[in-house]
C-alpha cells in the first residue's frame, strides 16, 4: 500500500476530510497571505502610502502608486521571493512542523490540542528554520542553473527550426520547469521535517537520515509530490495568459488569480505533507 502513490494520496485526502484540524495550520498560512495581499492592496493609499510610497518610488516606479497599475505591482511584489521566502522560512516551516505533529497525534489516537502541538513544535523551531533555509537554498541553486540555461537560450537567434524550438521550450517552459524543480527539491528533503519534529533529530542528522533511510522511497514520494502538484498546472496556464485575462477583467479582479493560486498551493501543500507523514509513520511502524 505504501509504495502506491495513489493510495498514499487517497489516504492523505481521507485524513484531511476526517480530521479537518490538519488544515488549521494551513488556514493560518492563508490568513498571513491574505493579510499581505490586503496590505499591498492598500499600499498606494493613505495612511499606508506614507510608508510604502517611498519604497514603491525607490524599488519600482511612481506609476505603481496609481490605479490600475497598483494591481500590477501588487501581484509582482506578492509573488516575489523577497517576500515569500522569509514567510516560508520563518512561519510556514513552523506550521508544516505542526501539521506533522497533528497527523502523528491522530495516528496515535491522541486528542489534538493545538496549543500543545504548537508548544511541542516550537521546541524544534530553530531546526525547522534551518531545514527550510537548506530547502530554499537547493531550490534557488537549481533554479539558478536553469536561469543560466535560459540566458544561453535567449542568445539563439534562429526564428525557425530546431534551435528556435529549443529556445521556445526553454524560455516558455520556465514556469513548468520551476514547478518540477520545486517537486524534486521537496522530494529530496521530504523526510527532514518529520525527522526533526517526531524523532527530535537536529537538522544535520535529519538531513543525513533523510537520504540514508529513505532513498528507496524516492520514486513513490516523487510521484506523490508530482501528482498533487498537477493541481497547480491550471493556475500556471492562467498565468501564462495573463495579458488576455487582464484585458477582459476589471483591474480589481486581477488579484483573483494570485488568490486562487495561493488557495490551490495551500491545498497541494496539505496533501503533500499529509501523504509524506503518512508514509513516514507507516514505515516507522513497519520497522518497529
Amino acid at each position: 500500500m505504501v509504495k502506491n502513490p495513489f493510495a498514499l494520496l487517497r489516504s492523505a485526502l481521507g485524513t484531511i476530510s476526517l480530521h479537518p484540524v490538519v488544515l488549521f495550520p494551513f488556514c493560518l498560512m492563508g490568513f498571513v497571505q491574505l493579510l499581505i495581499l490586503e496590505l499591498l492592496f492598500f499600499a498606494p493609499r493613505e495612511p499606508l502610502a506614507s510608508f510604502f510610497g517611498p519604497l514603491i518610488h525607490r524599488f519600482a516606479d511612481d506609476i505603481y502608486l496609481h490605479y490600475p497599475y497598483n494591481f500590477v505591482l501588487l501581484e509582482r511584489w506578492y509573488s516575489s521571493g523577497n517576500l515569500q521566502i522569509p514567510v516560508f522560512v520563518l512561519l510556514n516551516s513552523f506550521l508544516i512542523g505542526s501539521v506533522i505533529v497533528i497527523i502523528h497525534a491522530i495516528n496515535e489516537h491522541q486528542k489534538v490540542r493545538i496549543s500543545q502541538i504548537f508548544r511541542r513544535t516550537l521546541g524544534r523551531y530553530v531546526h525547522l528554520v534551518m531545514a527550510s533555509v537548506i530547502l530554499v537554498g537547493v531550490l534557488y541553486g537549481l533554479s539558478h542553473g536553469y536561469g543560466l540555461l535560459i540566458q544561453r537560450a535567449a542568445q539563439i537567434r534562429s526564428t525557425t527550426g530546431h534551435f528556435f524550438l529549443i529556445k521556445q521550450f526553454v524560455i516558455q517552459g520556465w514556469p513548468y520547469v520551476k514547478l518540477l524543480i520545486s517537486c524534486l527539491t521537496t522530494t529530496l528533503l521530504a523526510f527532514t521535517f518529520p525527522l526533526i519534529v517526531l524523532e527530535r533529530k537536529n537538522v544535520f542528522s535529519a538531513f543525513f537520515l533523510n537520504f540514508a533511510r529513505y532513498y528507496k522511497a524516492f520514486g513513490t514520494i516523487f510521484a506523490v509530490i508530482l501528482l498533487s502538484s498537477l493541481l497547480y498546472v491550471p493556475i500556471l496556464l492562467l498565468k501564462t495568459y495573463r495579458q488576455w485575462y487582464e484585458s477582459i477583467m476589471i483591474p480589481e479582479l486581477w488579484v483573483v488569480i494570485p488568490v486562487m493560486g495561493m488557495i490551490v498551493m495551500l491545498f497541494v501543500d496539505a496533501l503533500q505533507v499529509a501523504a509524506v507523514t503518512t508514509y513516514y509513520l507507516f514505515d516507522r511502524e513497519a520497522s518497529q
Binding site: F31, L35, P44, E46, P47, A49, Q155, R157, P251
Partner: protein, 296 residues
C-alpha cells in the same frame, strides 16, 4: 479552532474597513477617472457611429468629477480629457476653452501645460489653421523643451509641414529640429532627455534620408549612452538594427558598422550587448568577405 478562524476573518475585514475609512488619497477618483478614460477610448475608436448625446454625457461626467473633487491634483488631467471629448466631437471652440482653463489654473505643471498646448495646436490642425497650429507647437517647444511633449514638437512640426505638402517649410523645420536636438543633447549630455534628443535627431536625419549624418548620430546614441541599452530594453536591438540598415543597405559600408560595434566593445567590455555584438561582427565580416569575393 472555529472561533480562531472566525476571529482571523474579522481581523481581515476590520483592517479592510479601517484602511478604507482612513483613505484620504485620490485613489477612488483615479479609479473613476480610469473608467471614464476607458469610455473615452471606446468612443474614440468609432466616433462616427456614436451619437452626439454620448459625447455630451461623457463631458458632463468629467465636469461632475471636477465638481465632486474641486481640490484634486488630477484636476488638470480631467479637464484635458474633457477637452479631448470636445475635440472628438469636432467642437474645437469648446475644446480650446477647456484647454485654456488648464493653462490658467495649473501653471506649475510643465508636462500638463506642454500637452495642453499640443492639444490646442491639434484643434487648429483639424481646422486647417496651419500658422496657429505651428505657433502652439513652437510655444510648447520653447516653454517646456525638456518635457516629453515639448521635446517631440520640432520633429512633429516638420512632419506636419510635410503632411501639408509644404516642402520648403518642412526642410527648414527639419534643419531647426536638428539644431534644437543638438542643443538639448549638449545641455543634458548624460541624461534620459539627452538620449531622447539624440534619438529624435537621428529620426530627423532618417526622415530626410540623410544617411551619413544619421549614422553619425546613431553611433553617438550607441556609444554615449551604454547604460540606456539594457538586455531587456527593446530599444537596444532596434538601434543596432537601424545602424545595420543605414550602414549596410543605404551606405553599403559594412566596415563602418563593424567599426562602430568594435568601438563599443572596446569602450564597454563588460556590457551585456558584448556577446551579441561579437557574433554580429563575425557575421558582418564574413558577409563583407563574400561581397568582396563576388565583386572580384
Amino acid at each position: 479552532m472555529k472561533r480562531v478562524l472566525v476571529s482571523l476573518l474579522f481581523i481581515l475585514i476590520g483592517i479592510y474597513l479601517t484602511l478604507s475609512f482612513f483613505d484620504s488619497s485620490d485613489y477612488m477618483l483615479e479609479k473613476k477617472f480610469w473608467y471614464l478614460k476607458k469610455d473615452f477610448i471606446s468612443l474614440a475608436n468609432d466616433p462616427k457611429s456614436s451619437p452626439e448625446q454620448e459625447f455630451k454625457a461623457l463631458a458632463r461626467r468629467y465636469d461632475e468629477l471636477i465638481t465632486e473633487n474641486p481640490d484634486t491634483a488630477l484636476g488638470g488631467q480631467i479637464i484635458l480629457q474633457k477637452g479631448l471629448v470636445y475635440s472628438l466631437m469636432k467642437d474645437y471652440q469648446s475644446a480650446r476653452a477647456a484647454f485654456e482653463k488648464i493653462l490658467k489654473l495649473y501653471t506649475d505643471d510643465e508636462a500638463l501645460n506642454a500637452e495642453t498646448l499640443f492639444q490646442i495646436g491639434k484643434t487648429y490642425e483639424a481646422e486647417g489653421n496651419v500658422p496657429q497650429a505651428v505657433k502652439m507647437y513652437q510655444t510648447a517647444q520653447e516653454k517646456y523643451p525638456t518635457t516629453l511633449t515639448g521635446i517631440k514638437m520640432p520633429l512633429y512640426t516638420a512632419n506636419y509641414y510635410e503632411r501639408e505638402n509644404k516642402g520648403a517649410q518642412a526642410q527648414q523645420a527639419y534643419a531647426k529640429a536638428v539644431d534644437f536636438y543638438q542643443h538639448i543633447y549638449e545641455q543634458y549630455p548624460q541624461s534620459r532627455i539627452g538620449y531622447m534628443a539624440l534619438g529624435f535627431q537621428a529620426t530627423s536625419y532618417l526622415t530626410q534620408e540623410n544617411w551619413e549624418q544619421s549614422l553619425d548620430v546613431l553611433e553617438r546614441l550607441l556609444l554615449d549612452f551604454p547604460r540606456m541599452h539594457k538586455a531587456s530594453d527593446p530599444q537596444g536591438p532596434v538601434l543596432i538594427k537601424t545602424i545595420n540598415q543605414v550602414a549596410i543597405e543605404r551606405l553599403q559600408d559594412t566596415d563602418r558598422a563593424v567599426r562602430i560595434y568594435k568601438k563599443f566593445i572596446d569602450q564597454y567590455p563588460q556590457h551585456p550587448f558584448k556577446l551579441g555584438l561579437d557574433k554580429l561582427i563575425d557575421k558582418l565580416k564574413s558577409l563583407g568577405a563574400k561581397e568582396q569575393e563576388s565583386a572580384s
